[in-house]
């Protein structure tokens, strides 16, 4: 095959292949990823090469992962080092088990500690400053905010996305307020991926607490408490 340099389609396909193969430097990788977001042909080429080269991963022998790795993943995924909590095994069990989850001070304590650690950079000095009226909602144990929540003087709440958020068609994000000292959060309604503005007075006299976002079945939690994982949180 000759003249590859002159043919942009050929060049794009080989770039996709090099991306999947892994030979590109960091900047080139980022360029390909950025272009793939806009370009379905490049995306299709990447998928094609991924499927064709995937069997090579089997050439590498498995190695037992370090024993601490699971705890670390668990702590990042849901902010606790406690054993996994099954949130519900059947519809009938859901309310009781979820409630026991929220009453589990250990789990909530760790989750909140993780969240507060994650948003520490956005908080003013804790001793003298009033609670901030703007807070970043960040994934547990991570620092990149996903939503920005701001509370108006009138108690309204607006939440807007800082990055593109995608939710599966059969799921919805739901907003919650967990007041400090309380064990169970109060539902604030669904949170579309494009953001939400909640009515005047929603947060009047709320005191310090946390805004949480959980992943729920379409239409939101039917139990009045989160039934899915809490994805993001921030203090107010």
């Amino acid at each position: 095959m000759s003249g590859t340099d002159a043919d942009p389609a050929e060049e794009a396909n080989l770039l996709a292949a090099e991306y999947v193969l892994g030979t590109l430097c960091l900047a080139e990788r980022a360029t390909v990823e950025g272009e793939a977001l806009q370009d379905p042909v490049l995306r299709a080429a990447i998928t094609w090469w991924e499927a064709r080269l995937a069997p090579l991963a089997a050439l590498v022998p498995a190695v037992a992962a370090p024993s601490a790795l699971w705890s670390r993943i668990q702590a990042s995924a849901w902010g606790t080092v406690a054993p996994p909590v099954t949130l519900f095994t059947s519809e009938a069990d859901a309310p009781r088990q979820v409630l026991s989850f929220w009453r589990s001070t250990t789990a909530v304590g760790f989750a909140l500690a993780a969240m507060i650690a994650g948003i520490a950079v956005f908080r003013p000095a804790p001793t003298v400053a009033p609670p901030p009226l703007v807070t970043a909602l960040v994934p547990l144990n991570q620092q990149t905010p996903v939503f920005l929540a701001s509370v108006g003087d009138d108690g309204s709440l607006s939440v807007r996305p800082l990055t593109s958020v995608s939710v599966a068609p059969d799921r919805d994000l739901e907003l919650w307020l967990l007041k400090d000292g309380e064990k169970a959060p109060t539902p604030l309604g669904l949170l579309p991926a494009s953001g939400a503005h909640l009515a005047v007075g929603t947060l009047s006299g709320h005191g310090p607490g946390k805004i949480l976002v959980s992943l729920e079945p379409r239409g939101g939690s039917k139990t009045g408490l989160p039934t899915g994982p809490v994805l993001y949180g921030g203090g107010i």
Partner: protein, 185 residues
């Protein structure tokens, strides 16, 4: 037959991923138990640094938990999807933080099989890939394996194979063109 077993494993993983998307933590734990050694092995081989490999598996599995709803069983095998997330994460971390003591030459290490392609699984995809890799010349086959399995970039390939960067880039491109022509046939 090995192929059937791979398919069954794929079905189980796909089911676990669907349960993860519904927030089922026990399913996520099962997924971890089934896949962590495979993924860690891949990451360790790519990065050659246990801490970096653990970071890559951590980040990739966190992505799996948060994005399990994005897995589409109709578009590929669950194992390939997981390994793909892991490889990209490991390569990004590697490129960002650098190799700790680059200069070691993975191509000459003792753990390299004389014919590692024998270890490819007996699936149709793997058979086709093995046949097409065997059609490449030795340089071309070597750069594909060193890049995919050992995570060598263009410039690392040049250092490792003591060849000019331009030559190495050309081996890579010719290998990819040859593979594509063979795999499309």
């Amino acid at each position: 037959m090995a192929y059937a077993t791979t398919e069954d494993a794929g079905d189980l993983l796909a089911e676990l991923l669907a349960r993860c998307a519904a927030g089922d933590r026990a399913a996520f734990r099962s997924l971890y138990d089934l896949q962590s050694a495979r993924l860690y092995g891949i990451a360790l081989r790519l990065t050659r640094q246990p801490a970096l490999a653990a970071d890559a598996v951590h980040d990739a599995l966190l992505q799996v938990w948060q994005r399990s709803s994005q897995f589409d069983p109709s578009r590929g095998h669950a194992e390939a999807w997981l390994a793909g997330l892991l490889r990209y994460r490991a390569i990004d971390l590697l490129r960002r933080r650098g190799r700790e003591e680059y200069g070691l030459e993975p191509a000459e290490e003792a753990d390299r099989d004389p014919d590692p392609l024998d270890r490819l699984a007996a699936s149709e995809q793997a058979e086709a890939l093995r046949r097409c890799l065997e059609e490449l010349d030795e340089h071309q086959r070597r750069v594909v394996l060193l890049a995919f399995v050992d995570g060598l970039s263009h410039s690392e390939l040049a250092t490792s194979l003591k060849s000019p960067l331009g030559t190495v880039k050309s081996w890579v491109r010719r290998a990819l063109i040859g593979l594509r022509r063979c795999l499309e046939a």
